[in-house]
């Protein structure tokens, strides 16, 4: 039957080529072939319904939005015994229930999530069913640009006897998204994510997913829905990975663990700039300066070529490399790739530095119990004056504050690295060089909770924030300034923001202040406690109120009854931008939230290592969004009753820590707890606190509130 059809088509083509006496209607044939192909695969295309779960943030045409609708989605039967593959996009809200409606069977059946392929963004489900129809597929070698492609989905029509939805297009390209995906101009959207892309003969070419060459999270590429740029994972690759997914373990993308010397992918030789500890590259002995020349037998001269080869690989898979070191060409065979998560844990020395210290070096304010610093014999009041890995040979420059310089350096190192520090002891001022082995930042270890110490030293600051920094350059003379009387004229303008000095000179306004963003369009309030001293660096907490909770009495309650004392005790400034939208926060609101943050940073002495986005419910969701997307500003996310749905990669230079809390009675409390694990999997420092006998409520009158304040106090730990 099928062959006949193809024959007719072929014959029709020949006839047309030969003469115009054609009786066949070619378009008619194509139309019929489309429908027949869809009908052939239809019995294997299932509808998936999910229930429960959380709000989701996705990127749309006008920036990211919270997705409100979660209609049915699509999946494809890949095993007669009940295995169904779908797009991970369909499960990003961690649904509590998954139901699958199989064509030709009466009732939907509950499904279990078996595993997720986090590289190709596929999720494997299993239902209790037998003798299910598995469709034929097209081998990769037979998928060629220009062929017809039909996208099938089951979102729109809930009637299982009906054909799936159809969109007709062609194969636009193969080997996209670093070798992982087919591109099609058929309309791909939530209507068919998880469904098959099929050819005119009713064979599966691939599984439809949202994808983007530049993003890697669950929703990357969603913004291209229905645009004529759609992607599918080739079915041959899906089937190849199926046995591993059936084992129930999530699959991660495999990486070498190298950073290149320059971010240029296309026009320079692939020279290694950084090798992550414990990575595949480190194990193979690769070093900065090495130039990769061959991967898996293929010569390479650009980083992009390496990414094309590595793009398709999983954690645990092996590759071989050739690289040039000086004049020599070296080889590394059987190199086992590791997951991204394995290589980027933030390091921890185990100290809190003294703040607002213009002198060279870092004075130790606090030594964490059982940390590397304690083991190395460091004491409160000691001053770190030099540091290094082989020897303590790097001195402080005074270009930035000592604690910032030390942190920047530590951030380039991995836990387990042995470092050396030269310290001037508090007692007697004698110098010692000590060795310390870095550990992992507290909260960033799987299965290991971190409790913020109960008591932190009350003195956090030398109260000299407005003074110019001492410099190691003998030509730069530090100005002698009386901190009590700062003369703006004598302060190096490059080091101290004049606005700050202005503010000081005018005697800073305290209390609850109403402000507008500099463009005048958006309102926010600032709370400055009455003992505010511009010479002391303050943490900045951005409160993202729950929908509708930004009336005067809400703000007053939040400050007077909850935060006022904490602000004074822990040197915190609070700001509260007002959401534009009655129903809550839109991620596009981030622009003016950040404008409010910047404005406040100009007016007050803000510690950039302790800028925290904080919110409840949708506000918490917004805090998480803000944290992940604006890491140049936000260092901490404190979210109550909110869930992390998509975890981005850690960035060593822009540390981000999470404090999650949820009420025990909140239906999503388990998912919040799981969010913590998700974050820690990616080596973020994250903690989760459950509040007994509470729903989706704030932390007031709980011990968790005080712990949150102490957590903010320790955000500049290193």
């Amino acid at each position: 039957m099928k062959h006949q059809k193809v024959m007719i088509l072929a014959a029709a083509l020949l006839l047309v080529g030969a003469s115009s006496l054609l009786a066949q209607d070619l378009n008619d044939q194509l139309e019929k072939a489309t429908k027949e192909a869809a009908r052939k695969v239809a019995p294997s295309v299932v509808q998936i319904v999910t229930l429960g779960g959380t709000d989701i943030v996705v990127t749309g045409a006008k920036g990211a939005t919270f997705r409100k609708a979660l209609g049915p989605t699509t999946g494809l039967i890949v095993g007669t015994d009940g295995y169904i593959i779908s797009s991970s996009f369909n499960f990003i809200n961690s649904p509590t229930t998954i139901l699958v409606a199989i064509p030709g069977r009466k009732d939907p059946v509950p499904a279990k999530r078996i595993a997720t392929d986090k590289s190709r963004m596929l999720t494997l489900l299993k239902v209790d069913a037998n003798s299910l129809p598995v469709p034929a597929f097209v081998p990769n070698k037979d998928i060629i640009e220009g062929q017809w492609a039909i996208a099938l989905g089951r979102t729109l029509d809930s009637k299982r006897a009906h054909p799936p939805s159809v969109s007709l297009g062609i194969i636009s390209a193969v080997g996209r998204i670093w070798g992982k995906a087919i591109q099609t101009d058929a309309k791909v959207s939530p209507v068919n994510y998880g469904g098959p892309l099929i050819d005119m003969e009713g064979r599966v070419q691939g599984i439809l997913i949202p994808a983007s060459p530049t993003g890697a999270d669950d929703t990357a590429g969603f913004e291209w829905y229905d645009s004529g740029i759609g992607f599918a994972i080739p079915m041959e690759d899906v089937l190849a990975v199926l046995p591993r997914l059936k084992e129930g373990k999530d699959l991660q993308k495999g990486t070498l663990g190298i950073g290149m010397k320059t971010p240029d992918l296309y026009s320079v030789l692939p020279e290694i700039g950084k090798v992550a500890k414990d990575s595949a590259a480190a194990r193979a002995g690769l070093k900065p300066g090495d130039v990769i020349t061959e991967v898996d037998g293929k010569p390479v001269i650009r980083m992009a070529q390496i990414m094309h080869i590595l793009g398709t690989k999983y954690e645990g898979e092996k590759i071989s490399l050739k690289y040039k070191r000086g004049d020599k060409v070296l080889e590394a065979a059987n190199l086992e790739l590791v997951s991204i998560a394995a290589v980027t844990a933030p390091p921890f020395l185990g100290i809190l530095p003294m703040r607002d210290d213009p002198k060279l070096g870092v004075e130790i304010r606090y030594v964490f119990a059982k940390g590397p610093a304690e083991a190395a014999g460091l004491k409160v009041g000691d001053r770190i004056v030099k540091y290094g890995t082989g020897a303590a040979d790097t001195a402080f420059t005074g270009d930035v504050a000592g604690r910032a310089q030390l942190l920047n350096w530590l951030n380039t190192l991995a836990p387990g690295t042995e470092i050396r520090l030269e310290v001037a002891r508090k007692d007697g001022g004698k110098s010692d060089t000590v060795a310390a082995k870095l550990e992992t930042l507290p909260g960033a270890m799987i299965g290991q909770d971190w409790v913020v110490p109960d008591k932190l030293p009350a003195v956090a600051s030398l109260k000299r924030a407005l003074e110019p920094l001492e410099s190691s350059n003998p030509n730069v003379k530090p100005a002698k300034v009386d901190p009590a009387k700062v003369d703006p004229a004598k302060v190096d303008p490059a080091k101290v923001d004049p606005a700050k000095v202005d503010a000081d000179a005018k005697k800073v306004e305290t209390g609850l202040i109403k402000r507008n963003t500099p463009d005048g369009d958006h309102k926010f309030w600032v709370f400055v406690h009455e003992k505010y001293d511009p010479n002391v660096a303050h943490a900045l907490v951005v409160w993202l109120h729950p929908p509708g909770k930004n009336k005067e009495e809400d703000v007053e309650k939040f400050i007077d009854r909850i935060w006022e004392d904490l602000c004074q005790e822990h040197n915190i400034i609070l700001i509260g931008p007002a959401s534009e939208n009655e129903t809550g926060w839109l991620p596009s609101d981030a622009d003016y939230v950040l404008a409010a943050v910047q404005d406040t940073m100009k007016r007050y002495t803000i510690d950039r290592q302790r800028v925290v986005a904080h919110g409840l419910g949708v506000g918490g969701q917004m805090a998480i969004h803000l944290g992940f997307n604006h890491r140049d500003v936000i260092r901490g996310v404190a979210a109550v009753g909110a869930v992390v749905t998509q975890v981005k990669d850690t960035l060593a230079a822009q540390r981000l820590c999470f404090f999650l809390a949820g009420g025990a009675l909140d239906p999503i409390v388990k998912t919040i707890a799981e969010s913590r694990d998700k974050l820690v999997e990616r080596k973020f420092s994250a903690m989760f606190r459950e509040m007994p006998e509470r729903g989706r409520e704030y932390l007031d009158e709980t011990p968790q509130l005080r712990e949150l304040a102490r957590w903010i106090e320790t955000l500049d730990k290193q």
């Binding site: 083509l13 047309v16 378009n27 139309e31 319904v49 979660l70 939805s165 007709l168 209507v191």
Partner: protein, 361 residues
């Protein structure tokens, strides 16, 4: 004409790839030309709230009757019509039918023998199938100047399913089965334009710009010309009206327009299910408690059951459950599919009268 049609369809895009020297006759040219003569551009005065002041319409009589979407531009005091060749007329709205989301206007001038669709004949044809190719004609973005032919777009019938759309917080007016289209055809000004098959036969009326309540993405759809809707008359009677009857009676000037401000009455019967607190925006309808002796108790529902489907429709939230149940009166029966632990059970629930002493909210 006959020969030309054969030739037209004989030379598909496939051929163009294989034989690039073939005559430059394209598959849809004559159809496009023919249909375009039966399509009009509509313009209203001004525009408000970011909605366009222009639209599309379909000629359905030689005397200038026009079928279009029942949208805001019809409220304009000066409705103007531009034919495909630039001829320009004023027009008046004759009848609207909100339940079908269409309206009929007429050119306010003595015109005759305009090219038009024979609506009754078209509506008597079988409906298109999923996968059928189609063409959409519209005044989208008013790209076409007023004397130019309309924009023609190609697509296939992606699905036939109930329309569940919204604009902002407003639900779509029409909620029957529509043709979902795999082309991006529902753009500003497109609503009211025709969707035809490859042969230029009328299939449906292009819909508005709506977002799907299922996927939260913009949708592209057309209301089939065979569409029917239940219309509640003031006297409480419900009548079924199809689009062909609406068109016929409108042209004859005797359509009985229903009150556009009529309120749908809540008549919800008593079920006796108390759901868990609606804590989150989308809390699923978990049963907290069953009132003793209630219809739900008789049906065997239990606390902790999760209502998944209501009469075959998914009810993912408590809000939706309540919205649907409000529509079901005493004495009527609904079928619930519930999840109990890991099984799905089907339960029939016959609603009773609301208990007198305590009105349910």
């Amino acid at each position: 004409m006959e020969i030309r049609t054969h030739k037209l369809f004989g030379i598909g895009c496939l051929l163009l790839v294989i034989a690039p020297t073939a005559p430059a006759q394209q598959p849809f040219t004559s159809v496009a030309e023919e249909v375009n003569r039966k399509v009009v551009k509509l313009f209203g005065a001004g525009g408000f709230k970011g909605l366009p002041s222009y639209g599309s319409g379909i000629l359905i009589s030689p005397k200038g009757h026009i079928l279009t979407c029942n949208n805001h531009i019809l409220s304009s005091t000066d409705l103007r019509v531009h034919l495909y060749d630039g001829r320009f007329y004023h027009a008046k709205v004759l009848f609207r039918e909100p339940e079908l989301d269409v309206a009929v206007c007429k050119i306010d001038d003595e015109v005759d023998s305009l090219p038009h669709f024979d609506f009754a004949k078209s509506a008597a044809q079988p409906m298109a199938e999923v996968g059928d190719w189609l063409l959409a004609f519209s005044n989208c973005f008013h790209i076409a100047t007023r004397d130019e032919p309309m924009t023609v777009q190609r697509g296939v019938v992606a699905a036939m399913a109930e329309l569940r759309g919204r604009r902002g917080v407003f639900d779509a007016a029409f909620s029957g089965e529509v043709y979902f289209i795999d082309g991006i055809v529902c753009n500003p000004g497109a609503a009211g334009g025709p969707v035809t098959n490859r042969k230029g036969e009328l299939l449906g009326v292009l819909g508005r710009e709506l977002k799907s309540t299922q996927t939260d993405t913009w949708i592209n759809y057309a209301i089939p010309i065979q569409a029917k809707a239940d219309i509640q008359r003031e006297e409480g009677k419900t009548v079924k009206i199809d689009m062909a009857a609406f068109v016929k009676e409108s042209i004859e000037g005797k359509y009985r327009q229903s009150d556009p401000n009529k309120a749908k009455k809540d008549k919800g019967g008593y079920h006796g299910i108390i759901l868990v607190a609606n804590a989150v925006g989308a809390t699923p309808p978990y049963v907290e408690e069953i009132m003793p002796g209630s219809p739900a108790a008789q049906a065997g529902l239990r606390p902790d059951d999760l209502v998944v489907y209501l009469d075959g429709e998914l009810v993912p939230s408590i809000r939706l459950f309540r919205d649907v149940m409000r529509q079901v009166g005493p004495g009527q029966e609904v079928t619930l599919e519930i999840q109990r632990v890991n099984r799905l059970l089907t339960v029939k629930l016959k609603l009773g009268d609301q208990p007198k002493e305590k009105a349910s909210k």
